[in-house]
Symmetry: C2
Subunit: 270 residues, 2 copies
């Protein structure tokens, strides 16, 4: 809570401008396993008015669902045999026991499994409801298919960033986002689950504030805020899975999403 | 985590447009106790290029620090006598025992007080580090002054909204924001601590997703995302305490920040 990783890089921020713009990309079709998502995103960048030419300081935010679908990170519940623990929990919570089984199979650790809420730690280290396994907006005629989290969201982001640079010659950092709940507050906000080309955590510790007072513990979770800003333009139901953010204050660097995760030793809510 | 309040109002969203803009307001001076913050904000709206005329769907985000300062929600640590528990905790954590004392006095409940981290529940029901008590960016020559959270941030937001409506004839919802840490993830993100004129939580439960599948548990924490989007334009050190957001997908309504807080009965991380 508000403390800094010790070794966060210190780099000059990119364009800490007084305004930013979030543009939902248009024309991305229903994504299916095996689709070339990079090509679809490049087409969407070209199809969305006002986006090209890309500018220094642009960031692309892509929501998890299309990444998982393109990469085939999906499971058909038809073939899943739930363990008794999954059946018991699911029946009490009016949920699909097969989906609970998938969550448990994907989990590195169960954090909470009570009151109808299943919170697990994923192999990536994310702690979230249902381990990121999700049935909504999977696609028409998808029946019992659910999406898993991408295996390596940083790699997904790096691939998209490379594709954009190859086409446009501009280094556009990429954030992969997903919707997470939080303890103590209702509702979900989009946060980052993968990054490439920016520091997800910007450490202002040791910087002076405007009064010259040294800030002891200001660590901006910039990638999470980028994900949340994108959601405000994308919404949840409209089939808009990606947004370009222009003008945000962030710091370039060789960041990884693990930089955004609190080490177990610091975590008071394991 | 991802479940819905039972009685969230259902209203048509305002302009779920494909793009939004976040503009940091210019010209807000150092705010001092007793300042007319509403007047300062009205001046800043007029002074910032591209903001006027205000439009239907605009939202104003104002950061906590200037609200607290204008309302006199500040304490000079000079007169504070810390209790032994505060001294012991502060000495172990290299912190000011008087500030710890203020946090404890403000707290309804101590959630965690270990490893140098003090997390309390405030009288508003927020669970956050140091109960929102903060020493950074308080002002020049402020010495040992810290800010507390505003006493009633919804009322602060309502007052600003009324001032804007009186001047411009446009109903601009207002969000008061503050920087909170989160369990499991590094860094802070700006969230809402007060609202007026919008629903902080937008309940999509029962709405069909794009495939016609009923979404069981999609509850957007819109006010928190508005706060985070504003932070991307404002940053932490630049003396920019307010932003106008234009084009975000949100729902008008008679919301209160308590709608955004998870009831104790649902909370697995008390």
């Amino acid at each position: 809570m508000g403390m800094a990783p010790e070794e966060a890089p210190r780099v000059a921020p990119v364009r800490p401008g007084p305004s930013l713009e979030v543009v939902a990309l248009l024309g991305i079709p229903e994504v299916r396993p095996g689709d070339d998502l990079d090509a679809l995103l490049l087409d969407a960048l070209a199809a969305t008015p006002g986006v090209l030419p890309l500018r220094d300081g642009d960031v692309l935010v892509v929501t998890q669902k299309v990444v998982s679908k393109a990469e085939g990170a999906i499971v058909d519940l038809e073939g899943i045999e739930p363990r008794p623990e999954a059946v018991e929990f699911a029946n009490a919570a009016d949920r699909d026991p097969r989906q609970v089984e998938v969550v448990l199979r994907e989990a590195r650790r169960v954090v909470r499994m009570e009151k109808g809420v299943l919170i697990t730690e994923t192999p990536h280290g994310f702690i979230c409801a249902n381990g990121g396994v999700d049935a909504s907006n999977v696609g028409p005629h998808s029946g019992s298919v659910v999406t898993l989290l991408p295996v390596d969201p940083d790699a997904s982001a790096a691939r998209m960033r490379a594709a954009i640079r190859a086409r446009h010659g501009v280094d556009v950092p990429v954030v992969i986002s997903d919707s997470f709940g939080r303890p103590w507050r209702w509702g979900i906000v989009d946060v980052a689950i993968g990054v490439s080309g920016l520091l997800p955590i910007e450490n202002l510790r040791g910087s002076p504030d405007r009064d010259g007072r040294i800030m002891k513990s200001t660590v901006r979770a910039v990638a999470d805020e980028l994900a949340s800003a994108a959601e405000l333009a994308l919404g949840k139901t409209a089939g808009r899975p990606a947004a370009l953010i222009r003008g945000a204050a962030f710091t370039r660097g060789d960041g990884a999403i693990r930089d955004a995760l609190m080490p177990a030793a610091w975590d008071l809510f394991r």
